[in-house]
Symmetry: C2
Subunit: 334 residues, 2 copies
Amino acid sequence: VIVTVTLNPALDLTYSVDELIRHATHRVRTVTERPGGKGLNVGRVLCAAGEPVLATGLLGGAIGARVAEAVGTAGVSGDFVRIGGETRRTVSVLDSGDATGFWEPGPLVTVGEWTRFVERYDTLLGRATVVVLSGSLPPGLPVDAYATLIQLARDRRVPTVLDTSGEPLRHGISAGPDIVKPNAAELSTLSKDTAATGTDEGIDAERSVGPEEIAAALRALAIGCRTVVVSDGRRGLLALSETEGWQAVPPDVIEGNPIGAGDACVAALARGLRDGTAWPAILADAVALSAAAVAVPVAGGFDREIYERLRSRVVVTSLGNRSAQGVQDVQLDR
Amino acid sequence: VIVTVTLNPALDLTYSVDELIRHATHRVRTVTERPGGKGLNVGRVLCAAGEPVLATGLLGGAIGARVAEAVGTAGVSGDFVRIGGETRRTVSVLDSGDATGFWEPGPLVTVGEWTRFVERYDTLLGRATVVVLSGSLPPGLPVDAYATLIQLARDRRVPTVLDTSGEPLRHGISAGPDIVKPNAAELSTLSKDTAATGTDEGIDAERSVGPEEIAAALRALAIGCRTVVVSDGRRGLLALSETEGWQAVPPDVIEGNPIGAGDACVAALARGLRDGTAWPAILADAVALSAAAVAVPVAGGFDREIYERLRSRVVVTSLGNRSAQGVQDVQLDR
């Protein structure tokens, strides 16, 4: 089973309003609730794609109970560790223009709760074919929490995919995950040596991959991860391993909601890693699944027809047996 | 016991952020949760003032359970009718400037649930000294819901205070409540013959009482209520009965959070009505309690020291034995 880890899940509320006006009061027209946090989105995409998946992580309080219930309703098996704190909410306000987001801070996790999670996780590793580690860390967790989980997976020869940002990403990379999947903006924070906040979701942006990001990817490889896959929004994916480089470009631009596209990409990477699929096929799958996720309005799903249509038409180009200098010369098609 | 009725309660969430920017994503610095809805605020003020109070209304789902728990934690006795729908949330986002509010729609209430509430309410009337009816109506309730509750109270000779707006206010007035307490903006909607939405909280504004509002107040008296008390923010209160008029002005301007001041005013009116207190003393109490509520950051409380200090210094002026023409000539001190 593919195990997805969500240490800072959320109950995602989406409000639609006529137009957001600062310092005004708004009647919310419609309210939708769904489980949030990148790992839970990955789990729902895998489940929708028919893959066996198990979602784990930390949940607490009445909101946590609601998230657990919604995960089950979505058909995803869950095995969460309960914590004393209350799982956070996120509120996204949609108006005619775009979304305005408000993210509550995560609950404070105690040392004892983290220890219990690590024990539970270690048990789940016995059944895991791949582990996906996604999203931010809640307060109280050590900044190297993902490094710890990656090391335990390596000890049991379970491959890992890491999708986070800032300091947790930097520490996680040093433990040698099989794939890291930053987007361009996240890679940029790694590159700039900034003290990032350890939270990440939704910072996604229209950033593009440039020389600075490629340099950061190379550094990530040098630090310890095996493959860096950089998502670049609708421009596709760049994959760099220690010996090869690939670029995958979607054949069509799909309009829709980009939130969740990165999680669909991670879902495809995870199943490719599990099956030992060749990189060109993995990347074609990941680009098609991401684009098909953009076509549905909420994160955690994808449009099956679009996925089937695009999959065989993704253009994957080898960047050749790469050398550091060669890759630094790469210019993605614009 | 003073019975407060809250048909459309809420779980009020308050988020603090650095600065609200439309279409950006914000990290919420602090989250506070408390029971919301005007009737619950009135109940908490009365409880804090040492008055016996019982809160009733409609609550449903996990959010409703949370509201019930929080009401109990605040020390207020509650006797709510459970409904199948989920109690709404409100989200207020505070930044350096002011608050931006998002109000979820209330749950749809069924005919059976409303019937059960009316029965429960009728039972509670046997113990009630005064009934306070506050706030908006959730979807599904008849627009004359307050009129029904006022009529039942009159049948049992229990005096009533009504604080709502729009069509529910208009219908409620026709049933002859002892006091209606619109603010200037609410009175304005009554005056303009608009088809209001039946929801009201937070529409409070910097509107002031002018000739149009006074005309509307006179009309409210003509329709059936005994006394109209118009709250005019920091400018104080205007009270008009069929035979008299009074104006009450706070001695000091208290800075703070005006949300909840109207509910503190209603609390004072309710206990004055219960005790048969003379109008000048009721209004002095109401002005002082409102100002003392402004001094605390959240609705439902008040600053006891400020209340004691202001109470004896509120200036209450008789407008004389009023005639319609006389009152229309009133100009409030500015």
